[in-house]
Symmetry: C2
Subunit: 223 residues, 2 copies
DNA sequence: CGCCGTTTTGAGCCTAGTCAATGTACGTGG
DNA sequence: CCACGTACATTGACTAGGCTCAAAACGGCG
């Protein structure tokens, strides 16, 4: 933890640029660039900052003692994450590919929320949306079969990271997808292959670029 | 939905009592009594109120089109639930056994949050705790095996509804537990029987009254 | 060109689900 | 008071979806 915080601290002087964030009314934060796989914070770290994604994707995850991993959420452009009720982060956050985020000091949260109604609204809405997403994802994890999980995931990703709602480039590996959906990479791969064979999706060689051919059928699977 | 809201509306004149809630600083809400199984609101209903549990237990759940159910959370005394970012409730809430709740008008939320810092804190903390709980539960749903799920559940329940952290009375049925843990009632029952045989728990006839005999072993299972 | 990480595919197994029957507690009414 | 019905819980036998282990194929990059 010390090592990680030291790394974080040392990154600030060099990479830090005070910025106006996307939302004009929100207060200034510090923009930072992260490389592929870099850890923003770990489970148990002091929750000194919370973050907004500017570009790229962040995964927030939890681990069991034997290494099993659950990715609770993927955070994309505009998403806010890392706000905590207690003093510590309760999950870790890592960059998927290269990422830019804005870091806000947690110590300023209370004051900001007090003084800036627009910022307060944004924080509150972001938190409630996260909870909404979490509840929907619990339904997926607890009650959906593998093909249903994949269909839900693909439709969600299409909506979140595609312009036309049909063609997009996944930022994450099969392993990330598996740990998000409560499956193994083999099942993820097999299910995608099935979808291609049934004409539901196209899969460009490389495996990351996906096109939805039959959204109706995917929605039906989604249940 | 109309029927439900009508029932709600008609309940108010008779059962409504303006109250000071548990937390002195929070503004008054309307106390209501619910019977076993009664629905407080359904998925898609207008989010006119949010709630605080005074006594008893509430389950919040989501359904798939074919009836599969996921119980996202059990809300116990002191818990706040039903706040939404959008105009509609995104899950339904039902009474487990007889329940008393306080209903707060959603339309007053913004003003309350604006004017009452203590109330704002309470709402924010409650929401963040729900999110924390949700993330922990996703790890359970996505990555834990049946005995691990049961162990986690029992330890959590002991902490939340027992005085001595060891003996407690479950308010919910096996079916509720199964739909919360992503299992079937048969697996829940079998796992509990296994725990009894291994001396981890005691199970009073009736099946609802549980005593933890070996919390160490349960924690180890919890992973 | 050859290495490495990622993805795909295959074969066999195991955990939890399904289907079915029995057991138990409780409330109602004869 | 007991017979009955209902809802909930337990137990058993069998099945299947997804996991494990293993190997091959692919793509990007030095």
């Amino acid at each position: 933890m010390q090592v990680r915080n030291a790394a974080l601290a040392s990154r600030f002087p060099t990479a830090a640029i005070a910025v106006r964030p996307a939302l004009a009314t929100a207060p200034a934060g510090i923009q930072m660039a992260l490389r592929q796989g870099e850890e923003l914070f770990g489970e148990g770290d002091e929750a000194e900052f919370f973050y907004e994604v500017v570009s790229g994707a962040i995964r927030s995850c939890k681990l069991l003692s034997d290494g099993r991993r659950q990715i609770d959420a993927f955070h994309l452009r505009g998403d806010i994450f890392g706000i905590e009720a207690g003093p510590e982060h309760r999950f870790s956050a890592e960059a998927i590919g290269d990422v830019t985020v804005i870091a806000y000091r947690r110590s300023r949260l209370a004051a900001l929320v007090q003084d800036d109604p627009a910022f307060r609204d944004r924080i509150m809405t972001a938190t409630l949306r996260s909870l909404e997403r979490a509840y929907a994802h619990m339904l997926l994890l607890g009650r959906k079969a593998a093909p249903e999980k994949m269909a839900t995931f693909l439709l969600d990703m299409a909506q979140r990271l595609s312009k036309d709602d049909e063609n997009f480039e996944l930022p994450m590996t099969r392993s990330d997808i598996a740990d998000h959906l409560g499956l193994t990479i083999e099942t993820v791969s097999r299910t995608l292959t099935q979808f291609v064979r049934s004409g539901l999706i196209r899969l460009l060689p490389a495996g990351r670029s996906i096109g939805l051919c039959n959204k109706m059928a995917l929605r039906k699977l989604d249940a």
